[in-house]
Structure formats: C-alpha cells, structure tokens
C-alpha cells in the first residue's frame, strides 16, 4: 500500500492524433517501466484494429514509478484515452477514476474540437489540467500562437504550458515533474469500509472476466469477499494485480490506487462499469453515483453469416459489452437474415470497430445492415413509436408525422476551407447557428439532422478540408421533417436490410447514389440484375448490372485438379461472406458501404 501523498492519477486527453499514446510511450520509457527492447510505438494500442488504423480505441491504464526531484518515489497511474469523437465515452469514464488531466495540444495544429470537448469534460470531473504543447519538433509548430489560442478559445491559463516533443523525448522529464508538483494527490480513508469504482472490465480467454477498479476508501486484498452494489453480485477475489502494462500481482490495493482483479465471475452481466465495489461483510454506506450512461445514436442489425453461429454471437456480444458499455444490443429477427441483434453505437466508427472486434476476437462472420438513427413516429392515435429499423416502418395511413434527431455540430476550420465546410453542411440539410473567428480559424456551429451526419460526414469533412477541420457534436432533440422510407429492390426483390429513411427532397439523389454504389458493390452474375430505389410503389432510381460474360480458366492439366480444388474451397469460404437475396448474392460489406456517399 502506498502513501496517498505519493500517488498521482491522471488521464492523457487530446484531439485525435495529437500524440497522447506517443507521450504515454515516453513516460513508460523514461521511468523504465518497460525494458527498452520491449518498447514499440504507441505500445498501449495493443488491439489489432488500433494498430492498423493508428488510433486509440480503448482507454488504457499503466502504473509507473517515478523517482522525483524531491527524493521521493511516486506511483503514477496514467490513462491514455482515445481522441476520436465516437469514443468520447471512454474519456469521460476514465476521467472519473483520476484527479487530473494532461491536455495535449499539437503545437502545429492548435486547439481542435475534441480539445474543447475534453476540457469541458475535465472541468466537469473537477480535474486539475496541465496543458502540454506537443510536436514542437515540427517546423510548423507555433507554440506561442497555440498558447494564446488556449487562453482565448478555452479560457485556461497557458503560461505554464509545457513544450515537448513526444517523438524526440524533448521535455518529458518536465512532464513527469509537473505531474508530481501540479496535479493533486488522491484523497481517501484507509480505515473506512471498502469503496471502489468499477472503471473497466474485459474478457480474457485465460483469466475470464478481469475487472479494473479505482480504490476510493478502504483496502482490498486477495481472498476478500466483495459485493457489487448495483448488481448485488458477490465474489471472492482470486487475483489482484496492477498493470505495468502487463499484470503484476500485488498483495493489496489501498486508497488512490488503481488495479485489476479476477474473481471467477460467471455472469458477465454482473459486471457494470460505474458500479461500486465493497466488502460483503463490511459494506460502505453509500454507493458512488455511477457513470452517466451513454446514449447510442446509430443503430444497425448484426447477423451471423452462418445461422449456427447465433449463440456464439450472443456470447461474444456479452463479453464485448464488458469491455465497452457504450454499445447496446437487442435480439432481432429478419425474414432474409434470420436471428441477430439490433445494436446501438455512438457513431459509425464505433460501429465498424465493434463489428471488427466481434469478427476477429470471436471469429464470427457478420452481416451488417444499413445503419439508421432513431426516428420518432407519431401515430394518428396519439401514440409515439421509436423506429430503430426502417424495415419496421408502420403503414403510412396510420402515421401522423415523423420526427428525426438533430445535433448541434461544432466545427473548427482554417479560413480557407470554410466555404467547403459551409457547403457540406448546407448539402446535409444543416441550419447555421453561429460563426465566429479565433485567429485564422473559424468556428461554425450547425444544427444538422443526425441521419445526415452518421454515415460519412466525418470522412467527407476530412477530405474537403484536407484533414484540417475538427468536429464535435451534441444531441439536440427531435424535429419533424418530410421523411420517407426508401426501399431498395435488387432483381425486383426488396432487400429489407438496405431500406432507409430519407428526406423527401433528397430521396431522388440518394436513391440514384445508392443504386450506382450497389452496382459497383454487387459482383456481376450470370444474368443481368436491375437495381432500383423506390418510395412506396414508385421507382425513383434504377441501374442495371450487366451480366458476366467471361469467367473461365484457360488451361487446366493433370496437376491443376488440385489447384482448382483449392480455389473452390476458397470460393466456398467466400460464399459465406455473401448473402442470398432471391437469385442474387450480395457481399456483406455492401450493406454498409452502399451508404457511404461520395458527396
């Protein structure tokens, strides 16, 4: 157990790509937490998807020991957080477990939308904030200007901001000193009943359910009988450890400390982030307030390609929810796709990540249906229905009006790209609410339909501004509009999984774009395939995928029998990634890719 005065807990927060994970690497490296030969870039980004995409998806905690200038050795628990807006829930959750934040700002980019969003969250969590200007090795770095921006735009004192390069290691010793001298030590009572916050949990194939906790009061030891206050579940602690970042067993954890335990937890459902953990025999009086639940904004159906995998999918979803409380899942059935789940996500990237993780970590092939937001359908009888799936759209004769969710989007963009951003927002049915300037940069606020944003707005924004714009949003409530259900017919058969809600004025363009996209995404068949978009019984767009003309292997001798067999096996596997609609096979990626618009 460690003296509270020698503990510091903090999160590293920033806009995407400003260098949080690289800074974490340097802190781990300089304190010798990981042997030099085991270091690799962004070492906390351990998931395959994180490494492939070069972004952090999950917050990660590491315990490091730092001998400070005052002669004392401190225990530092750092949490590296993701920067992408879809994972903001990870950040807010992490912040609840610590007392301070390093606010990293890329000195060549300046303050961005997520910088702002993170500051608000940090203030909300009563954090001490230490601004850190990163990437000052870059020729384009302008630390003086960025400091001014921090003061003007965010309104916090930047005179003490540190100037560092997480890449070269410049200024890292100063970061460590600032953590010790400028961030507060945690508070807590060692003798009080145990009160610990369930910060995170995940499923490990060897250890089972692993639970990460932050101790507020009291002490926990291996063998203790504990209780989860919200779910009422009781367990005996089998293993207690800290992450360095690999697990290192520890005898006890006291106030202010962060660590993990395992307890042969059978029911994955028993573990909820934000829950309070206490001793069974001597419980604490009052539970912690818990985390604000996140509200999913994008929904889609996830179906196993192989119907026999349904139980595995259910199991995988439960396990993954342990690690990510921000996605929801409810069973659903579809005529064409069988049994599956309707899942809710915080954004499209979140959706893609969860789908990828289910496929990879649990080895299940999935079909993803067209993502949708939640519409409010007001019926003529005065009732209101939430529509999560366009396929469930009730008969229009009973519908009074349809409302869609709107967001308030904040976009920061250099002057020269402002025009492109305004056009994009107008194209997406946006209503401008505000436009202000901070130096060379404009801050625009738009009221936008969420439905126009979830699919590819972020990608489009990046491309029209060469990556220089940043974006954040908040839900704004519901508003009525002229919304209709558009169906897609492939070879004259409606494909439910592709139907979507659209604004009437945009339906024709959207329908044409969908048909064109599907024409690219569906491979040619041995017959020609009409692809149509329709509203009610009226066709609004049509494309024809022409028939395949030639697919034949020219030479095939004795030795090629084996080769052809192998090819056939591959094709059999490939066929599993296809879905049959009537006589047409549609590749599973088509369901989501068809929605990505080029304009």
């Amino acid at each position: 157990m460690t003296d509270l005065a020698r503990i510091r807990n903090f999160s590293i927060v920033a806009h995407i790509d400003h260098g949080k994970s690289t800074l974490a690497d340097r802190l781990i490296q300089l304190t010798g937490t990981v042997a030099e030969r085991d270091m690799k870039a962004q070492m906390l980004d351990s998931m395959d998807i994180e490494r492939e995409r070069g972004i952090t998806i999950k917050a990660n905690t590491v315990r490091i020991e730092y001998p400070a200038k005052d002669g004392q050795t401190y225990i530092l628990n750092l949490i590296d957080t993701p920067g992408h807006v879809d994972f903001a829930y990870e950040v807010s959750r992490s912040m609840r477990a610590v007392e301070g934040s390093l606010l990293v700002v890329d000195a060549s980019q300046g303050v961005e939308a997520q910088t702002l969003a993170n500051v608000y969250q940090a203030i909300d969590a009563n954090h001490e904030i230490v601004p850190v200007l990163n990437k000052i090795d870059l020729p384009a770095a302008e630390p003086a200007r960025v400091k001014e921006q921090i003061e003007d735009v965010i309104g916090i004192d930047a005179s003490q901001a540190l100037e560092i390069s997480a890449k070269t290691g410049l200024g890292i010793p100063e970061v460590l000193e600032a953590i010790v001298t400028r961030l507060p030590a945690p508070k807590g009572d060692r003798d009080a009943p145990l009160k610990a916050m369930l910060v995170d949990s995940w499923y490990d194939s060897y250890l089972g359910v692993v639970v990460m906790i932050r101790i507020i009061d009291g002490v926990v030891r291996k063998g203790d009988m504990i209780k989860m206050m919200q779910t009422g579940a009781r367990y005996g602690i089998d293993k207690l450890a800290v992450l360095k970042p690999q697990m290192v067993d520890i005898k006890e954890l006291g106030p202010g400390e962060i660590g993990i335990f395992t307890a042969s937890i059978k029911q994955v459902r028993d573990t909820r982030v934000g829950d309070t953990i206490t001793h069974e025999k001597r419980p604490c009086a009052k539970a912690l307030p818990g985390f604000k639940p996140s509200i999913p904004v994008v929904f889609c159906g996830l179906f196993p390609v192989d119907a026999n995998d349904f139980d595995d999918l259910r199991d995988a979803i439960e396990k993954l929810q342990l690690n990510d409380a921000s996605f929801t899942a409810e069973m659903e059935t579809s005529a064409a796709l069988g049994f599956g789940f309707r899942c809710g996500f915080l954004g499209l990237l979140h959706l893609e990540v969860i789908r990828d993780r289910l496929e990879r970590e649990y080895d299940i092939d999935l079909i993803t249906t067209a993502p949708s937001v939640v519409y409010h359908i007001h019926m003529k009888d005065g009732t209101m229905r939430e529509l999560h799936n366009p396929a469930d759209m009730p008969d229009l004769t009973y519908v009074e009006r349809i409302e869609e969710p709107r967001i308030k989007a904040t976009i920061l963009v250099p002057d020269e790209y402002l025009g492109a951003v305004l056009k994009l927002c107008e194209d997406r049915r946006g209503i401008q609410m505000d436009l202000t300037y901070a130096g060379q940069r404009a801050m625009v606020v738009y009221d936008l339909p969420l439905n126009e944003v979830v699919f590819d707005f972020y990608d489009r924004l990046k491309s029209v501004t060469k990556g220089y714009a940043s974006f954040d949003y908040q839900m704004q409530g519901y508003r009525e509009d002229k919304l209709v259900k558009m169906s897609i017919l492939v070879n004259d058969e409606p494909v439910d999984a592709l139907s979507m809600m659209v604004h009437r004025d945009r339906a024709d363009a959207r329908g044409r774009a969908m048909c064109e996209k599907l024409k690219e995404l569906i491979p040619r068949h041995m017959f020609k395939i009409p692809i149509q978009a329709a509203i009610g019984g009226k066709v609004i767009a049509r494309e024809t995928l022409s028939a395949l003309r030639k697919d034949v292997t020219a030479k095939c001798y004795g030795g090629d029998a084996t080769r052809k067999k192998k090819l056939l096996e591959k094709q059999k596997a490939g066929k599993k990634k296809m879905r049959q609609f009537g006589k047409v096979e549609i590749p599973q990626e088509a369901f989501i890719n068809a929605l990505k618009m080029d304009s």
Binding site: H525, M526, F527, L548, R549, K550, D551, V552, T553, A554, K555, C556, Y557, G558, G559, A561, T562, K564, K565, L568, Q571, K572, K575, K583
Partner: protein, 375 residues
C-alpha cells in the same frame, strides 16, 4: 471418342532456355544438367510407380515441361523403354512431347520419332513477330512455321499452341492470326487466352499496373466467341475449353485428366491420380528439380505428398475437370438440383441422357457455373 478414361504416364522435364514472362509452370533455367542422373532418376521413378500400380495397360505417355524438346533423345528413349517394360503397352500408345519451335529443337524431331514419340505439341504461341518478343519467346514466326511443317512431315499427329487475348490484340488481328493457324493445322490446336498468373513477370507488372493493353472482359468474351465460330467452321471444334480437334485427333493423354482417369506423374512437381485398393489417391513430387533428384537418388522416391481422396473430393474433381469437355460429365456427380435447374433455365447448361454439358453460352462462364454447382 472412346470413353474409357485410360491410364497414362506424365513425365515432367523442368528445364527451359529462358523463362517466359507469363509462365507459371515448374520451369527453370539451368546452366548445366546432369543428363545421366536425370535419365536414371526418371526411370527409377517409373519402376517405383509400376510396383504399386501393378501390370496395367498403358495408353499414353506425355513429356511436358518446361521444355521437353531440350531432352536428349536417349533420355526420351530410356523413359519410353522403362514405361514399356513396367506396364503393358496398348496397341496404339499415344506418346506426346511438348516442343519449343527453335530450329535447334526441330533438328531433334527425327531422333524423338526414332525413340518412339508419335505426337508433338509445338509451342508456337503467336504468329505475330512483335508479339512473340512481347511474350519473351526465343523463336521467330518463321522458325515456328518451319518447326510445325517439319513436325508434320515426321510425326503422324501434330498440334500447336497459341496464346491469345494478348496485349494490344484486336478482334480483327486475332481473326487474321487464327485463320492462318487453321490453315497450318493438321487436326489439333490448343488456343489459350492469356492468363496473368501471380508471381510471374507479367503478374508482377500487372499488380503494379504497368501491364497495359490487356483486353477487357467484353473483348475477351468476343475473342472467345470468335474462336468457337472459326474453329467450328474449319472442322476443329472445341472438345475442351481451349482444345480443338477434328474427330479422332483429340489428345488422349489430356482426356485422361479431364475424364478423371488414372495417371502416374514422374519428374519434379508432377501430380498423379491412381485408383488403388485403399481408394483414389492423389500424389505429388518435390517441386524443386534438385531436391527431387536428390530425393529419388537418396531415398528412392521423389514423392512429397500422398492423399486419399474422399468420395466427395473425387466427385468434385470429376465435375471440375469434366465440365471442361464438350461431352460434359455424368449427372451422378451433381447433387445441387436447384443450381442445375437455374443454370438450365438461364440456358448455360443442358442435361441430356444423364450427362450435363455447357451450352455455347455457358462455355465462357465455366468458373461461375462451377461455383454455383459446387459451392
């Protein structure tokens, strides 16, 4: 056509004078070849195989490559001799040798005939001079024509190969070239659309995007159609996807493959299929020439793989190979009734007297049809 699939011997000669940029056959350029060692190794492999097949009637021998026309005629003779003494030779055994049409090789044709070869298949590839260069060939059009003519004087049966759907080839130029080929032909022609194989020089250029001027799917389909029309009109219809012959001139050896007969494969990377008491068996030998040679010498066998095929495997192979043939395959092997009905409705296959065949419309779609029938 006699429909007994038969029993044949495939002999692989893995050496070439240079490596053609499109070729993914097991072929290697080697500064020197120990011909005595190779002769003995091939003969030893034949004896090893004969020990397990027992005394059968052997119908065909095929020397393939690589470039078998680089083999010393004595080696060809020794292999034929080993086969004749290991199995019972059928009365009219077909003995084919693949030949490249350089003048040096044509000069050896008589010696091959003396050794027992009675059919050659000449790799002409193109009758357009510049295209031969682009295909990396070492011979000229004139040499190729001369080699075919020489062969036709010496051997009772001669075939030659052309590769079409080449870079920058037009439908008209192919019409012209094919007409010339048909006038040169004496009963058998192999007409292959150029396939871009991975890990060949063309394959590398293709994946880098620097292999330009290849025909698109439509032009490829038009060329295939034209090929069917012209060869049919000339009395050399396709009896297999890419092989054309007048009645009775079909390559009996290759028919063994397509009809799922039995064959022994000797030489590096050769495959075999045998019906043995334990079931239908697939064999393979070491691919690398020197590894194969050492294995034969030191371990008494060049075999690297042997698997028992399941009834399902046998059935699938029979369809994969057999649908290439004009005669089609027996309906027995096909269980997917729904696919058969759909494909019949689309006019891509036809079912008659318990056999399934591709229609003219189905021929260029063989792979897609197989996918539907078998996956």
């Amino acid at each position: 056509m006699d429909e007994r699939p038969g029993f044949g011997l495939y002999v692989h000669w893995p050496f070439c004078q240079s490596k053609c940029p499109y070729c993914d056959f097991n072929s290697h350029v080697s500064a020197s070849v120990d011909h005595v060692a190779w002769r003995e190794a091939l003969a030893s492999e034949i004896r090893r195989s004969a020990a397990e097949t027992g005394s059968r009637v052997i119908d065909t021998i095929f020397f393939g490559g690589g470039t078998p026309s680089l083999m010393p005629p004595e080696t060809v003779g020794a292999v034929i001799e080993a086969a004749r003494s290991s199995w019972t030779a059928s009365n009219d055994m077909e003995i084919t040798l693949e030949a490249n049409p350089t003048s040096v090789e044509a000069g050896r044709f008589q010696a091959y005939a003396d050794a027992g070869v009675n059919r050659v298949s000449v790799g002409v590839q193109s009758l357009v001079e510049d295209d031969l260069r682009a295909l990396g060939r070492l011979h000229s059009v004139e040499e190729a024509r001369a080699a075919v003519a020489t062969a036709q004087q010496i051997f009772p049966r001669v075939s030659f190969d052309l590769i079409y759907a080449r870079q920058n080839q037009t439908l008209e130029s192919w019409r012209n070239e094919l007409a010339q080929a048909l006038s040169m032909s004496s009963g058998h022609l192999s007409l292959y659309q150029l396939t871009i194989e991975p890990s060949t020089a063309f394959g590398d250029r293709f994946s880098k995007g620097s292999l330009r001027g290849l025909p698109d799917e439509d032009l490829g389909a038009d060329m295939f159609d034209l090929t069917q029309d012209m060869t049919e009109a000339a009395g050399l219809p396709a009896y297999e996807t890419s092989n054309h012959a007048s009645l009775g001139h079909e390559a009996r050896h290759n028919l063994i493959y397509w009809r799922s007969g039995e064959w022994v494969g000797v030489g590096p990377g050769a495959h075999g299929r045998l019906s043995l008491p334990e079931g239908r068996t697939a064999t393979e030998t070491h691919l690398a020439p020197l590894k194969w040679l050492a294995a034969v010498r030191d371990e008494g066998s060049g075999e690297s793989l042997r698997i028992q095929l399941s009834p399902e495997d046998v059935r699938e192979e029979a369809v994969l190979m057999g649908l290439r043939l004009g005669e089609g395959v027996s309906l027995d092997g096909l269980k997917n009734v729904k696919a058969i009905n759909e494909l019949t409705e689309l006019g891509l296959i036809e079912v008659a007297s318990d056999r399934v065949r591709l229609t003219r419309k189905g021929k260029p779609l063989l792979n897609a049809i197989l996918r539907q029938l078998l996956t």
